[in-house]
Symmetry: C2
C-alpha cells in the first residue's frame, strides 16, 4: 500500500497517532509500574494494534489483557503470550475458543456457575482463573463488600480440578464518570479494597498470586497501594479528551487524533466536517458516562464538536470549507474500533500505517 510522505497525502477522515506522544505515554506507565515493582499488563482494547503491543512488551509488559477471546486471538496469532481474557466466559463454545488459542491464557469468573462451566470444558494444564471483584463500578463481579462471597468463589476455583486460582481482579471504571477531584480517592479505594479481600482469601488458606487493578484514571493512585501486584490500563497508550477532563493528562499527551475535512459551512458560525459517529462513535465516555463535546479540536479553541450524524461532525465556530482539522476524540477505544487502519505520524510526516488488526472483535 502507498504510504504518503505527509498527512496532506492522506484522504480524510483518518486516524493519526503521534509517535512522540505514544512513546511518552508508554514509557511513563512502564516507569510507574517499575517504580512500585508492579507488573504491567496493558489492555489491548484501546489500540487493537500488535505494533503498539510490541512496544509495550519491549518496555517490560508481562503479558496482555483482552476483553474477548476473539480479541486475544489476534494477539496470539501475532506471537504474543500470557493473554488474560478479562471477561466472564459463558458457555462451552467460548471456553473451547479460549483453549484453541496458541498462547498461555488466563481468565476470570464472577460466580460459581461460571467456574463450573470453565472446569467442565477445560483439560490439561489447569486454567488460571481470577475472581472478578466489583469495587464500585456496579457492573460484573462479586461486590467488594462481600468478602465471604469472594472467598467462597476463590475456594470454588481452587477446588475445581481443571482450574487454578489466579488471584483477584477489578476495574474501577466508575472513575470515568467521576469528578476530577474524586479520581485519586477512587484509585486508592480500588487498590485498598482488593488488597483487603486478598487478605481475607489468604486467611482462608489460599495463596493469592495476583492482585490486579486496572483503569487509566486510577492507575497512579491504585499502583501505590501496597499489596497491588498488577496494573491493566488500556487508554494510557493513546489518551483522549476524557483523560484530560479528569485531570489525568494534559492535552499534549493525547496521541490519537482524527484528521477531518470541513465539507460545509452554511453559516459563519456553523460548519460540518466529514467525520461523524462512524468515526468518533457516539460514545463520549466509558460505560455510557457522557461528558462534554465529542472531541477537542487541536489548536482551535474557537471550534467545538457539539454533535454527530453518521457522516457529519457538527462544528460550532468559524471553520472554513475545505480546511483540515485534527480532533482528539472524547473516548479513544471505540474510535479505534471503527477504523481499518491508523497512521503513525511525527507532526505532519507519515511514518507508518498500522492495521487495526483487532477491530470488531466482539466474540
Amino acid at each position: 500500500l502507498n504510504l504518503p510522505r505527509t498527512i496532506a497525502g492522506l484522504d480524510t477522515p483518518a486516524l493519526l497517532i503521534e509517535r512522540s506522544r505514544l512513546d511518552a505515554n508508554l514509557a511513563e506507565m512502564a516507569a510507574l509500574c517499575a517504580r512500585y515493582g508492579v507488573r504491567l499488563r496493558p489492555h489491548v482494547k484501546t489500540h487493537k494494534c500488535p505494533a503498539i503491543a510490541a512496544r509495550q512488551r519491549a518496555l517490560g509488559a508481562v503479558g496482555l489483557c483482552a476483553a474477548k477471546v476473539s480479541e486475544a486471538a489476534v494477539f496470539a496469532a501475532a506471537g504474543f503470550d500470557d493473554l488474560l481474557v478479562a471477561y466472564p466466559l459463558t458457555g462451552a463454545r467460548k471456553v473451547a475458543a479460549l483453549r484453541a488459542l496458541p498462547a498461555r491464557v488466563s481468565t476470570l469468573a464472577d460466580d460459581v456457575e461460571g467456574v463450573r462451566e470453565l472446569d467442565a470444558a477445560w483439560s490439561g494444564e489447569p486454567l488460571p482463573v481470577h475472581v472478578k471483584v466489583d469495587v464500585g463500578l456496579g457492573r460484573v463481579g462479586v461486590r467488594w463488600d462481600r468478602p465471604e462471597a469472594v472467598v467462597a468463589l476463590a475456594q470454588a476455583i481452587d477446588a475445581a480440578p481443571n482450574l487454578r486460582f489466579a488471584g483477584l481482579l477489578t476495574h474501577a471504571g466508575h472513575a470515568y464518570g467521576a469528578a476530577p477531584e474524586d479520581v485519586a480517592r477512587i484509585g486508592r479505594e480500588e487498590g485498598e479494597r482488593l488488597v483487603a479481600l486478598a487478605g481475607a482469601v489468604r486467611d482462608a488458606g489460599l495463596e493469592v498470586p495476583s492482585v490486579s487493578v486496572g483503569s487509566t484514571p486510577t492507575a497512579r493512585h491504585a499502583v501505590a497501594v501496597p499489596g497491588v501486584t498488577e496494573l491493566r490500563p488500556g487508554v494510557y497508550a493513546l489518551n483522549d479528551a476524557n483523560q484530560v477532563r479528569l485531570g489525568v493528562v494534559p492535552v499534549e499527551r493525547c496521541a490519537l487524533s482524527v484528521l477531518t475535512t470541513v465539507v460545509s459551512r452554511p453559516d459563519p458560525d456553523r460548519a460540518f466536517c466529514d467525520a461523524g459517529s462512524k468515526v468518533f462513535s457516539s460514545d463520549r465516555g466509558a460505560h455510557g458516562q457522557a461528558h462534554g463535546d465529542h472531541g477537542l479540536v487541536v489548536d482551535r479553541p474557537d471550534l467545538r464538536l457539539v454533535a454527530l450524524s453518521e457522516e457529519h461532525g457538527w462544528l460550532r465556530g468559524p471553520a472554513r470549507r475545505g480546511e483540515r482539522l485534527r480532533v482528539v476524540p472524547a473516548h479513544t477505544c471505540p474510535v479505534v474500533n471503527l477504523a481499518a487502519e491508523v497512521w503513525l505520524v511525527d507532526g505532519d510526516d507519515v511514518l507508518e500505517r498500522w492495521d487495526v488488526a483487532a477491530r470488531g472483535c466482539v466474540r
Copy 2:
C-alpha cells in the same frame, strides 16, 4: 464458511435479520412509491449489504443512494448502477474517486465553492448535481427559506460546463428528534418546501428533473405531496426501536435484532449481556438525538437495556445467566456498521450469511 442450521449454532453476539420482516418492509415501501408514481432510491447506509440492495432493485428501485464515495464504490463493484452520493464532496481527491466508480453517478452541492470544485475536477459526460436543501434539520444545505440562494446555486450548476443541474434534494432528519405527533407535519413540510423551491427554480427558467426527499419517518407523508418525484429512505428496510417510538412501524416490523448471551447476573434484578457499545454503538437516535433505552428486548418486557460498556450490555430485570436474548437496537444503521456479517433468519432457522460489504466506508 459454515452455516449453522439454527441460531443455536451461532456464536454471540450476532446480528439477525428476519427474512419475512425484511421482505414485508421492502415490499411496503415499493408499493407506497408505486402508488404515488414516485421513484424509490433506497439509501444503502442502513444495510450496507449488496444482497439487500438486490432485493430493492428487484422491487423497482431506480438506483441507490450512498453517503460517501467509498460506500458507493462497494455497490458499484457489486454491479449496481445509478448511484447518488448524497454528500458535499470537498477537494479534488473526492471528485476523482467519484469519477473512478464503474457506474453512472450523481451527487449534490450546497455552495458555489463546491460547484466550482466539482466542475474543475470533472470531464466527459456532465455530472448530475443536485442542490442540497435544508428543510429543518439544521445541517448541510441551503436553507429552505432562502429561495433566491437555491435558485442561484441551481443556476451556478447549470452554468458549469462539466455539470448538469439534477434537481433538489433534502433529508428531514429532524423528524428523528420529534414527538410522534409532529412527524406527519414534518413530512408534509419536507415535501411542500422542496416543491415550492422547485417552482422558484422553474420560474427562473431551469428544468428541475428531480425533487428528492428522504427519511423513513417522513416517507409516507412526504411522498403524498404533489411534485415530489423521488424518495430516498434507508432505515425502512430493517427498522428499529426509534421507528417504533416515532409510531412509524409496530415492533413486529423491526427486522434486525442482536442475538446476545447473558454473561453475568450479580443481583436478581441486574444482569449483563455480551453485546455492548461495540455491537449496539452508543447511538440512541439519528443525529445524536437520544431517546430511551439502547434497544428493545424481544418478548421480554421485564428486561431493559439501560446502558452500555464496550463489551457489556447493562440489563435491568430478571435475566438468567446463560440465556440468549434478541434485542432490537435503538438505531439500526450504526449497529450494522459495526458488524462484519449479518445472518438472514426465519425464526430460529438460519438461511444465509451476508457480508456487511460496506462496513466502515467513511471516505
